[in-house]
């Protein structure tokens, strides 16, 4: 019950506070509401708050108390020093603690969420700082009759021993609980994870060329979920050495290792407790280097290796599984950037990975990958830019005991953009991509295949006058799916897509905006092996016209009108003897009309109302005879009120209410009328 009443009480309190402060618009308060920018700096907040203190309203008392609690460091004093210390980050003021509380409550259709978060950063001394975060998130789904909650706490204490060494203490706790019936008081499924760790970080610039970074963490971890519980220790070592002797050469070696020892127990009511000692070790070593041969010509190199051994219990089988995973990678890159009209870059990469299981060796898998890619940018003439790209990737994978497959992907791309004076620009894009899959055991998997995709688009933008703009687009795409072997080749097909689209927009008298979009497309799907005259080949054609008008009645009130017309027909066709015969099977025509009203009541309140009407008619055509198959009519009226209010820079409140009424034949009764609510509030204490 508290989950329901606590947010309502909080909402009532905040609204009372907001109304009370709005009802007494002191000079200072007027200043504070004038700050609309949510990202405004904390320094502004201080000014707004001090003006509230001066105004003597109810909030001022609270702020005064807060100041007093801040160790006697008054706002007047802070403000007095601000000019001289403007460069100093405000968060670093010693002794100031500003916990921030955020709450969001929302209900959308049948899902209700509560999210709350409190966070605090406090600098205890020049060397010691503390960060605290606590979150509580709950989600309830009425129609699924389920609820989930997720509570998290993080505490982080850092002590800077000297310029090079920082010591830390970290505590993390997460509790997740699921209820499969909302009425259940006890969760059906609970998971808890708790970590406490100490850390020591060493970071030193040994010389101009050499930098060292090391961090070690060690602590305890406790984890429980479903029937499994485990408890143990975790240690990490992370380090890197950077060698950067001059501007032309740099190199870095990094190392990351983790060791995890857990005592695990699978606790099942029916059988004995299964216990295991699980050990996990991970290591990763990386090396990277960059070299500038001459200014504008760069070479890069990176390589890495990782190994992992992981043990864990399999709860349902009550045995301990050991996974071994290793991987290696190598990459070389180059870039050329010496002349302004031509640049290129090229990358080569290789990696392999292997995963082995002791108990379930059928899950073993390996993969080997290589790739080669390159891009070039050329400026061939004035106003033009040509981008060329190419890539080849090859990967072999063997998964769960299968003999494996090799995938080879090749792609090429081209894009040319041309500025045609200041009023127009034109672009042509082309892409070709071929993916070929080769199975080793073709008897077990007879689906060797190629998938070829080609696409060409042309776009033209033209702004004839300041208030009139037009756009034209042409697109052709083709996708071929080819199964090579006879067992699957009946599905071989080619799909071709053609699309022509256009748009214009202009502003008429009284600042009325007019916009219209046209879109015509057709999709042919052609099956390569089809004997039936009108068997499987299909053609779908679409026409779409959208019209939008915006009438500004007064500055704060706008009326929107929109109409969408859609027409789609589809049928089968034959391509026998090189002659295409089309037999239309169905037609669908739809209209949608929207009428909307935007009203900005005051800066803080916005109102939106929309009414829409939709009608769709579907006809079937048999033997040239057209019959109405179905008619769908739906209407909807939706109203939304959004309230945003910033009380100074410390308190933000927003409320969003949406009521929707639908009449539709296909929509379930439960979803025809709903009210969505979202409330958000945050306060920096």
């Amino acid at each position: 019950m508290w989950r329901i009443f606590a947010p309502i009480l909080l909402l009532a309190a905040i609204l009372t506070w907001v109304v009370a402060s709005a009802a007494q618009p002191a000079d200072g308060a007027a200043d504070s509401t004038g700050t609309d920018d949510p990202d405004s700096s904390y320094a502004d907040a201080g000014e707004a708050d001090s003006s509230l203190v001066d105004s003597g309203d109810s909030l001022a008392v609270g702020m005064g108390d807060d100041d007093a609690a801040g160790g006697g460091r008054g706002r007047g004093k802070r403000r007095g020093n601000r000019d001289s210390l403007a460069w100093y980050p405000q968060d670093n003021w010693l002794g100031d603690t500003h916990p921030k509380y955020e709450i969001t409550i929302s209900k959308e259709l049948d899902v209700t969420k509560w999210n709350s978060k409190i966070s605090m950063q406090r600098k205890l001394s020049d060397k010691l700082d503390l960060n605290l975060n606590a979150t509580l998130n709950t989600k309830e789904n009425q129609s699924l009759n389920r609820s989930e909650s997720n509570d998290g706490t993080t505490a982080n204490l850092n002590y800077k021993l000297n310029e090079d060494i920082t010591l830390g203490l970290v505590y993390n706790s997460t509790v997740l609980a699921n209820r499969y019936s909302i009425k259940h008081s006890e969760p059906d499924d609970r998971r808890k994870k708790e970590d406490t760790r100490v850390s020591a970080a060493f970071s030193k610039q040994v010389s101009d060329a050499i930098a060292l970074d090391f961090k070690t963490l060690a602590g305890s971890t406790e984890n429980s979920y479903a029937d499994v519980r485990n408890k143990g220790s975790r240690a990490n070592l992370i380090g890197s050495v950077t060698f950067d002797p001059n501007e032309r050469f740099n190199t870095k070696v990094g190392f990351n290792a983790e060791r995890l020892n857990l005592d695990s127990a699978v606790d099942s009511a029916e059988v004995d407790i299964f216990k295991s000692k699980d050990e996990t070790q991970r290591q990763r070593l990386t090396v990277s280097a960059g070299y500038t041969l001459i200014p504008g010509l760069n070479l890069g190199f990176n390589a890495g290796r990782s190994d992992e051994t992981r043990q864990h219990p399999e709860p349902k089988q009550r045995i301990q599984e050991t996974e071994k995973h290793s991987s290696r990678n190598l990459g070389i890159s180059s870039s050329f950037n010496m002349v302004p009209w031509f640049t290129w870059d090229m990358d080569v990469g290789f990696d392999d990975s292997e995963r082995r299981y002791t108990v379930a060796p059928q899950k073993d898998n390996i993969s080997e990958n290589s790739s080669l890619s390159g891009n070039a940018k050329i400026l061939p003439w004035r106003g033009a830019a040509l981008n060329l790209g190419g890539e080849r990737k090859e990967s072999f994978s063997s998964y769960q005991g299968s003999d494996g497959e090799t995938d080879v992907q090749r792609s090429l791309s081209l894009k040319l953009t041309q500025g045609l004076g200041s009023k127009a620009d034109l672009s042509v894009t082309a892409l070709s991509d071929l993916l070929s899959i080769f199975f080793v055991d073709k008897a077990a998997n007879p689906k060797d295949r190629d998938r070829l995709k080609n696409r060409v688009t042309l776009d033209l933008n033209f702004t004839a006058f300041k208030r009139i703009s037009t756009k034209l687009g042409l697109q052709y795409g083709e996708e071929q799916t080819i199964y090579v072997l006879k067992e699957a080749s009946a599905d071989n097909r080619t799909t071709r897509r053609y699309r022509l689209s256009g748009r214009y927009s202009f502003t008429t008298f009284r600042k009325i905006d007019v916009m219209q979009d046209y879109d015509i497309s057709s999709v042919y799907t052609y099956y390569h092996f089809t004997d039936d005259e009108f068997g499987r080949n299909t053609l779908v054609r679409n026409s779409n016209v959208q019209t939008r008008l915006v009438f500004p009645i007064i500055r704060s009130l706008k009326l929107n009108f929109g109409h969408t017309y859609k027409f789609q027909d589809q049928g089968r066709y034959s391509e026998k003897g090189g002659k295409r015969t089309y037999s239309r099977a169905s037609e669908t025509e739809a209209h949608r009309i929207n009428l909307g009203l935007n009203y900005k009541f005051i800066n803080a309140i916005k109102i939106f109302i929309r009414q829409s009407y939709y009608v769709q008619q579907k006809w079937s055509l048999t033997g040239g005879k057209k019959e109405l198959e179905s008619q769908t009519v739906s209407s909807e009226i939706m109203g939304r009120v959004v309230f945003n209010y910033n009380l100074g820079d410390r308190t933000k409140v927003s409320l969003r209410l949406e009521q929707n009424l639908k009449e539709g034949e296909r929509v379930n009764q439960a979803y025809r009328s709903y009210r969505n609510i979202e409330f958000e509030a945050s306060h920096v204490f």
């Binding site: 499969y180 052709y476 699309r499 879109d519 779908v540």
Partner: protein
């Protein structure tokens, strides 16, 4: 001279564009030759209506057609797993297994799921759809499902899937844009894993 240069440039630019268009329309790659088929083609309908997508999903599973499965998803597709599956799999053992689950991940997992050398006898039954939203561009439907398949042993997966479909204005066809998986009361009572759990396990171990 200047006039000639300007004229030649004026003709060069459109000519260059035409050449590029011609070059772009010719594919540099060509697929392999196919053998004459011996079997029947799988059922696949161009998804002009949202329920065609659901029908194609069922057919692609049952005929193990991973290519038809791949065609179901929009490029901005998102998979939302059940929170308890995330809790179980994303414990210390498979951290991040459900992260960034988009169209490409779904297609790769679908290929593994429907690989004939690993899976056989798949059967998918979908309960009656409950439509939550139905406009000319969005369709949201909820189905209870039961998926049965043989991967070493025959196993059933049960749960509820909420599919959010959207109409692609480029071709006027429907695609799955979001798939939200959750445990159902029936699945919970029968102690069945969800389909999302199976997908997570496939991604975690590949």
């Amino acid at each position: 001279m200047f006039f000639r240069l300007r004229r030649s440039r004026r003709t060069l630019i459109p000519a260059g564009f035409v050449c590029l268009l011609l070059a772009a329309s010719c594919s540099p790659f060509s697929p392999r030759e196919a053998e004459e088929p011996v079997g029947e083609a799988s059922d696949y309908v161009e998804p002009q209506d949202p329920w065609d997508v659901i029908s194609n999903l069922k057919n692609s599973i049952e005929t193990q057609s991973d290519l038809n499965y791949e065609r179901l998803f929009a490029e901005d597709f998102v998979f939302v797993p059940d929170q308890s599956d995330v809790n179980d799999l994303e414990s210390i053992y498979y951290p991040g297994v459900y992260d960034d689950w988009g169209a490409e991940t779904e297609r790769q997992v679908g290929r593994r799921l429907l690989d004939e050398s690993l899976t056989s006898h798949p059967a998918l039954s979908l309960g009656e759809g409950e439509v939550a939203e139905d406009t000319d561009s969005t369709y949201v439907v909820r189905h209870d499902y039961e998926l049965g398949l043989f991967r070493g042993r025959y196993k059933f997966y049960m749960g509820t899937a909420i599919f959010r479909l959207s109409l692609n204005p480029g071709d006027g066809l429907w695609y799955i844009r979001q798939w939200e998986d959750s445990r159902s009361e029936a699945g919970q009572a029968a102690d069945r894993d969800t389909w999302g759990r199976l997908k997570g396990e496939i991604r975690a171990t590949s």
